[in-house]
């Protein structure tokens, strides 16, 4: 058995907080970019233009068949030069952080697009026909009629996916990016407190995720009452 050393934990709070900030950054960027790009992909997937639909389908299939670990390694080990050229980054920027953000954004877009697509397809045909009969263009129809309803219907699933993203960001461990989990492990290895650091990290993730899951459940229940 072992004794829990709270002093060591308190002493290392700054490093843990810095890691948590990285975790938060990656999560928020992945959600924001993922939803935007995912919406575009979903619109492509349901569009009548064949090449667009095909592209969206292929994109989703490709990203969903590659393990997240491989994807992160692809972006980190293989294409940093490309990323540097595209984003015109200064040499001081942490390439691991940018790789993680790009990898997560592109992957989560695939998952978000599947959710949003299901939301669009779940609407009754009358919504499309009514928008058309009011003389709306395709863009207007999607912007004002279809997407707002699709997002609302899929809200609980979208929120659950956000929790999944938050959990998945811990995988940036494989590209040595110092997120909350990686920093906890490094501290544990440095101070010989790995056991308690891992338990602490697990506890923090559990508290955050179970609180968020409970909130999503509340949202879901309130929507059913409406």
């Amino acid at each position: 058995m072992f004794d829990f050393d709270w002093q060591a934990l308190i002493a290392s709070r700054h490093i843990l907080a810095a890691g948590a900030w990285i975790t938060l950054q990656v999560t928020l960027v992945a959600i924001a970019c993922g939803v935007v790009w995912g919406t575009v992909l979903a619109l492509c997937a349901v569009s009548a233009i064949k090449p667009l639909a095909l592209f969206a389908k292929a994109y989703v299939a490709l990203f969903r068949s590659i393990p997240l670990v491989m994807l992160l390694l692809w972006f980190f080990l293989i294409v940093p030069q490309l990323l540097k050229a595209v984003f015109d980054l200064s040499p001081t920027v942490d390439i691991r952080l940018v790789s993680a953000m790009v990898a997560f954004s592109m992957l989560e877009a695939a998952f978000f697009s599947e959710i949003i697509r299901a939301g669009i397809l779940g609407l009754s045909r009358g919504q499309f026909l009514a928008a058309r009969s009011l003389g709306m263009t395709t863009v207007q129809m999607m912007r004002y009629i279809i997407l707002p309803q699709a997002f609302k219907a899929m809200l609980p699933i979208l929120l659950t996916q956000c929790i999944v993203i938050f959990q998945d960001t811990s995988l940036v461990y494989v590209i040595a990016l110092g997120d909350f989990f990686r920093n906890a492990v490094s501290l544990g290895e440095r101070d010989g407190t790995l056991v308690q650091m891992l338990l602490f990290a697990g506890l923090v993730y559990w508290l955050i995720c179970s609180t968020l899951s409970a909130s999503v459940k509340l949202v879901q229940q309130r929507m059913q009452h409406d």
Binding site: P67, V69, M70, L77, V195, Y205
Partner: protein, 245 residues
């Protein structure tokens, strides 16, 4: 970028002096990933079924345990669970057992820990799908079973579960695919599976594109094999007249 493609590197002997080519390393990694996926999948099915039944069984205590299991294993990231199984569990078990575990060959430890971590994590997801499937059955099924004089266990075994498993084949298939992809996380504790071999090849050959492309394709192949396998099972167990067949 001026990158020199050299696919021949895959057939070169490895630099570590082992009697193998790099391609053989990848094939070896593929079979480790395949074995890990199959073992973890089996464990996940068993654990998921046991806890899924417990969550719906008419017994408060069992339900509470099932709920706690799902809460813990679904709300902690998988990589954290891998590390806890590998680093923490041997420490908090009684010293004798912990020492025995640490004496086991590293490769065996990596594999067993990975099966446990993947299996218990995926089990919690299957548990939820099974619970949802059981609750979606018409109440009459359970009542009819009990009215026929079946015990609760018999009602589950002969009436409810055979229907539920047929209904949840689609989510079970995607869980199978997810487990094969999540198996790559085993590389973080040291298991030489497929994704780890890709990283090794980058280190040893300086031909990163070739090794990453081959390994990525290997994952796609694995996905395809699983889809075929599950379609075959689905075919075997589907009943005429049920679910649109």
């Amino acid at each position: 970028m001026s990158y020199k493609w050299n696919w021949g590197v895959l057939l070169d002997p490895v630099v570590t002096g082992e009697n193998a080519t790099y391609l053989e390393w990848i094939v070896h990694g593929f079979f480790i990933t395949l074995g890990l996926t199959l073992c973890a999948w089996t464990l996940a099915l068993v654990v998921g079924t046991v806890f899924g039944v417990m969550r719906t069984w008419p017994n408060r205590f069992g339900q509470a345990i099932g709920t706690a299991y799902v809460s813990i294993f679904r709300n902690v990231p998988l990589i954290v669970q891998f590390f806890v199984w590998y680093f923490v569990v041997p420490e908090i078990l009684p010293a004798a057992i912990g020492d025995w575990i640490k004496g086991v060959k590293p490769n065996v430890q990596f594999f067993v820990v990975s099966v446990l971590a993947l299996g218990m994590y995926t089990g919690s997801r299957i548990c939820e799908q099974l619970r949802a499937g059981i609750q979606a059955l018409p109440r009459g099924q359970r009542q009819a079973g009990l009215a026929m004089g079946f015990s609760t266990a018999q009602t589950y075994g002969h009436v409810m579960l055979p229907q539920v498993f047929r209904h949840i084949m689609p989510p079970l298939t995607s869980e199978f695919l997810i487990i094969s992809k999540n198996s790559a996380i085993a590389s973080t504790i040291g298991l030489l599976e497929l994704s780890r071999q890709a990283q090794q090849l980058v280190d040893f050959t300086a031909q990163p594109y070739e090794s990453f492309i081959v390994v990525t394709l290997a994952y796609v192949l694995l996905n395809f094999l699983i889809l075929r396998f599950m379609a075959w099972i689905n075919n075997r167990i589907s009943l005429p007249g049920l679910m649109g067949h």
